[in-house]
Amino acid sequence: MTTELLLWLIPLLPLLAFGLISLFSFRSRGVSHGLALGSVGLSWLGSMVIFFRAIGGLTSISSSDFRASRFDWLPLGKGTFQIGMQLDQLSTVTLFFVAWTVLMIFIYSVGYHNYGSPIGEYDLPGLPPHGAVIKDKKGRSHRVPSVEPLYSRFFAFFALFAFAMYLLVLTDNLLVLYIAWEIMGLCSYLLIGFWYARPSARDAAVKAFITTRVGDMFMLIGLAALYSISGTLSYHEIFSAQALEKLVSSQAPVLGLSWAGLIGLLIFFGTIGKSAQFPLHVWLPDAMEGPTPVSAMIHAATMVSAGVYLALRTFPLISAGWAPGDALNPTMMVMATIGAFTALFAALIAVGQNDMKRVLAYSTISQLGFMIAALGIGAYVAAAFHLVTHAFFKALLFLGSGSVIHGMEHGVLHTNEQVDPQNMFKMGGLRKKMPLTFWTFLIGGFALSGFPLVTAGFWSKDEILSKVFETGHLLIFITLALSALITAFYTMRQITLTFLGKPRSKSAEHAQESRPVMTLPLVVLAFFAITAGWVGIPGNFPAIGGLLPNWFEHFLAGIQLEVEITNAYSLAPLFTSLVVALGGLTLGWLVYRRVSMGSPDPLQKPLGRVHTWLVNKFYVDELYNLVLVRPAYWLAETFSYQWIDKGLLDGILYAIGRFGLWLGQFFRTTIDRLINWIGDKVIADGVRGTGKQLSTAQSGRLQQYLILMVAISLLIGIFFIFTLFGSGNLGY
């Protein structure tokens, strides 16, 4: 098949699966997940074909030949809006990790939703399965996990999600990207609120939707401004040199920015929402309310990656007018600041969280902060590299945590203990119970903390740190290094609490390793969590640099300007990353290795008030609640409803109503009464009276009538005689 055709087919297959599942196969679990898995499997296959074609043809084919078919879509005043698919270096790389993580998450979901387990007798749609009771051969009954009631629905949404991500990666213009972006927003809403009967899940879904919508609105304004100025949203036209030149040279009416800077900033707000950067990060931790595969999907493969992908995609616009070595332009400054701040901020919060998935959620925010900060200082390749490696190890970590939670739930069902299966302080010692999950999670965790040389996370994070250091942004460097230290610390905290030591609850003692359908994706992702880093080892790295070619940078260099560092590899950032990674890991292990059953967090005492702040996430939610949510409720409930609606509008309506009532009463008492009086007294009574009077004339006596007749005849006769003869009309 041609590359063009494949580019169209890759997104369309999951969409087709979504349609088929929702319309036809929703009753059959097997057919539904067969369709979903088949479609993403084929998409994966297509992606791999394209990927290897792209990297194979890289040396001989120039980048413009990657572009694929486009067609006229929307006739507009000036011309026709074209949409199409294209493939360039960035989408090739993104496609690679999206295809792998999506496929793995899909496979994992089959096990996570307990396909093949019995249907629980108390399970309801919209609630997590409660487990079912089965009898074994000896007649003893066991409680085992039960299958998800809305199994098909889950895969339908998931397929739609995959469709949106593929479309977003492969499209050739910002409008279709925006559409895919919004479909993803919808899917995240549907999937975070998948267990919709839980109020917390409902709230989280609404929160995610509204929070990302805030960013999206700015992004839409940015896109509209971009279109009205440049007349196109197609990448190859916007990012052409003269279009960018035009945007840079024109002055925007706001803040003294150029149009390029303003539009870049507006589009970056979209990234802030989608990639959960401060201050719009609040939705991401709450998104943990969804099933764990959804978390993995949102945090690794799709949603948040889409945000960074957008920032990478619009990087030429954001960095327009800036050349490597120059001072940062305002938009990049904002990005670098927000990214670095978010990295540290979220890492700090993660230290105070006890929920296994929430720690990972904050680590995602923190790592995305790294990428945004890297982009902000112009380290395009480093950001893209970290995006790829992060997708792999974060998908791995989420699926691993899902496997742990699954094992814990198994224990909870077995022991009937009242324990939150996500609380890390109730775990411990799972190393022996779930060896495969442990080893893969360890790899993922080490990749996240940047364990030197082996893991992918080390190479990408080290590249970011060295780029930041070499471009001389010392404050950002320190912030990111500190974040990396804390990252390693809380990762080790998580690993120690979950897997090491002794079980701290009965459920943890009875936890079980998950099924192969869940552990297999873990192994595959663990493989990438290590090897994905080896494609980007800097050529000038001490000792092992140059053993493997820095393929990643070479590949991406085709489209992007990049900070070209010619000096020798600086040892300071390398030393820093070694220290923070190993130091953080050691520290985490030392602090948390002795946590026993029921004891509090060891940091609680030494940190005191600070720890409370960390546990409560710096009270950002409370602040938003106070500043935004409650005023909004007040505006809706008190101001709009009570005052405006009930008071003012209803008041006016009631006044009109009362006036109408009064007018009616007035008419009734005056005019209507008069008319009635005339009708009653004058007409009706008059007629009745006259009739009564006249009825005496009808006596029934024949001779009276005759007399009357004679008399009247006489009178008429006399009248005629007088009038006719008197006037002489008869003529004689």
């Binding site: 006249l694 005496t696 006596s699 029934g700 006596r701 024949l702 001779q703 005759l706 007399i707 004679v710």
Partner: protein
């Protein structure tokens, strides 16, 4: 020859007698007889005018004959009515037949 006016005076007198009878008599049969008198007065009037003014034409005679026929038919119906009233109510006094009083 007797002048026309004598006939007219006689017929007027006869009509008045009949009219008086119709208006004054209590007995329904008497009223009927008064009606006959009035009819005869009219007939007389018709014949007198015919004989003096239009003797060459037959119209007057025919008209009178028709009035006679009508009168006899009327008497037959009238008497039958009076008899049936008498059979019902044992009265022949016109003043007491007040069923149609308003």
């Amino acid at each position: 020859m007797i002048p026309l006016s004598w006939y007219l005076i006689f017929s007027t007198a006869l009509f008045c007698v009949g009219l008086f009878g119709v208006l004054a008599r209590k007995n329904a049969i008497g009223i009927l007889m008064g009606v006959e008198l009035m009819l005869n007065a009219v007939n007389l009037n018709l014949l007198a005018f015919w004989s003096y003014l239009y003797a060459a034409q037959m119209n007057g005679l025919v008209f009178v004959a028709i009035v006679f026929i009508t009168a006899s038919a009327e008497v037959a119906v009238g008497l039958a009515l009076i008899i049936s009233v008498y059979r019902c109510r044992r009265i022949v006094v016109a003043d007491e037949m007040t069923e149609l009083r308003g």
